[in-house]
Symmetry: C2
């Protein structure tokens, strides 16, 4: 017995307004606008990203995981800029009136993500239209005035770092789509669960914010794969990059998968769904950056350097360029 | 011979980045975040609304009109709060890679709307997924701190005003869906064009901002029909309302349509797509409000008053309550 929500007002009052509790500018979500004051000495950092069923998450994903991911991918953009999250607006589009049980789980997942990531719902829009369930979030953070870490200021000679480990999210998605890979890659249940969780529950690297603002020339989160996002940073900065594949940080589970099937290096280099941070750091600040990151509980790994020559090269253990047949996600490519 | 866009980067560089020119915080749309400073002494006002093909606009509407409407419906929310527009973020979702000719027209329509409405593109997101073409805009404005005009503070005894004329947008949509109505309603080509334009090109009533901030207890834009939006204001404010149908302001074209078919009063009362402003104004400020509105070039019309008793009554010329069978747009109702 499923019960579907019967009005926009009920949806807002029952499931969304509690997410805005304690935020005066949200006006209980009873207005069609919210107010937001910028913290003194800071400027706002804004980003918008949509996640859609079948494109960014799977129909089989739980509503709690969907909620987490929708908010986390936006907060990850803020994390890549050294910004602190404040609030978000959410536009929901349903193909049919959603079930109350789905809404209860979804809003509970948002509550969990809000608490973990430090921001609150402050406004939004809800409607029904054909097409996949879509969640479009505008995330708002802040940085000290003039201190947002851009992607366009990497300098030749800068050391390139990434946070965490690469490829887990892409491998997790492959496991969900092809369960037989668990055995083919010789994974334990825990290793499988780790990769799947990395796909479903990306963790924005907010702990790196201070280190980025203090040390980085340029930074961004890696959501479309290292190869593509590094190329974007290089194009924006007018430089190139040389990365050593052997230095790319892997989780134990990913390492096992690559041992079983070396071609999976493509998922590590270009798979997307990593939500780690890529940073270019002047050589003179590299040690400080490592130290600050470690102090924040989030180790970073040097993977190569920015070069004067254009183009991104990823070099294997024999010094040969990896062919990058698939260079990351492009919706129109 | 149609040419489709072949990458997200090309779409942004060719068609969207020019819309962000002159806005330093937009970073040329080459980053995944934008920065925004709040004007001194002001706080930000935020709203988000999606428009989708087949739901909020017609597949036959020109890309220029679609662009105008997508931005205007958001700016109309700001106008209803007495806010001044500053910037917007736009998430575009295409079912297939769009044609370059469509993008050229669409971005040209946005440029026109930006200039008319006084805000600029500062960031966004573009992707491809099934479902209708959808444009989700987060509009950002500002008001002096603490001066946003809310919808929840109407008081019993307040005079109720609306700007402009009601029903034109709903009648314009009916004309587009049923061309034979032009003759049935005895409309001239100019009158038909007026109603259709009101549907396709809503004009946010920004000129009313100062009058609202100075005089109104409560205000909001009417996008889902007077009956529904007035009921929302009353529920939020804990009061009721009594409106006289004869006082509802009509354009000459709408007046002619209603003379031909009196049942069209339903479109005036509950049709939606008006994007006029509904304001509750204390009796002592009513003349000042009229005067300020007229000085801003935008006449307002008194239509009734807020009452202590709950509920919205719309009274006909004989003092009888109009039956409100259709009480406005609800996506889930």
């Amino acid at each position: 017995m499923t019960r579907r929500i019967d009005s926009e007002e009920a949806l807002i009052a029952r499931y969304l307004a509690p997410l805005a509790a304690g935020t005066p500018g949200a006006l209980g979500l009873r207005d069609d606008c919210a107010t937001l004051a910028c913290p003194a000495g800071e400027e706002l950092v804004l980003t918008v990203d949509a996640v859609a069923e079948g494109v960014h998450f799977l129909a089989s994903d739980s509503p709690r995981d969907v909620a987490w991911k929708a908010l986390a991918v936006n907060v990850s953009d803020l994390a890549g800029k050294g910004a602190r999250p404040i609030a978000y607006l959410m536009a929901l589009s349903f193909p049919e009136a959603p079930e109350e049980s789905w809404l209860a789980e979804f809003s509970s997942g948002l509550e969990e993500a809000q608490q973990a990531l430090g921001l609150k719902l402050t406004g939004g829009d809800t409607d029904r239209r054909p097409g996949p369930l879509t969640i479009t979030i505008t995330a708002i953070g802040s940085v000290p005035v003039g201190r947002m870490v851009q992607r366009c200021a990497a300098q030749a000679g800068d050391r390139l770092f990434v946070s965490g480990t690469l490829g887990d999210g892409a491998l997790g998605l492959m496991l969900l789509q092809r369960p037989e890979f668990t055995d083919a890659w010789c994974l334990t249940p825990d290793e499988r669960a780790h990769l799947v969780r990395r796909y479903r529950r990306p963790e924005p690297r907010l702990a790196l914010g201070e280190a980025l603002r203090a040390c980085a020339s340029a930074a961004m989160d890696i959501s479309d794969g290292l190869a593509k996002d590094l190329a974007r940073m290089c194009v924006a900065s007018g430089c190139g990059a040389r990365v050593e594949a052997l230095r790319l940080p892997l989780s134990p589970a990913a390492r096992k998968a690559l041992a079983a099937d070396p071609s999976l290096v493509a998922a590590v280099v270009a798979g997307g769904d990593d939500y780690e941070i890529l940073a270019a750091v002047p050589e003179t600040r590299a040690e400080e950056f490592r130290g600050r990151a470690a102090a924040g509980g989030l180790p970073v790994t040097g993977i190569g350097e920015a070069t004067p020559a254009q183009g991104v090269s990823i070099i294997d253990s024999e010094g040969k360029r990896l062919p990058l047949l698939r260079t990351g996600w492009d919706h129109f490519g």
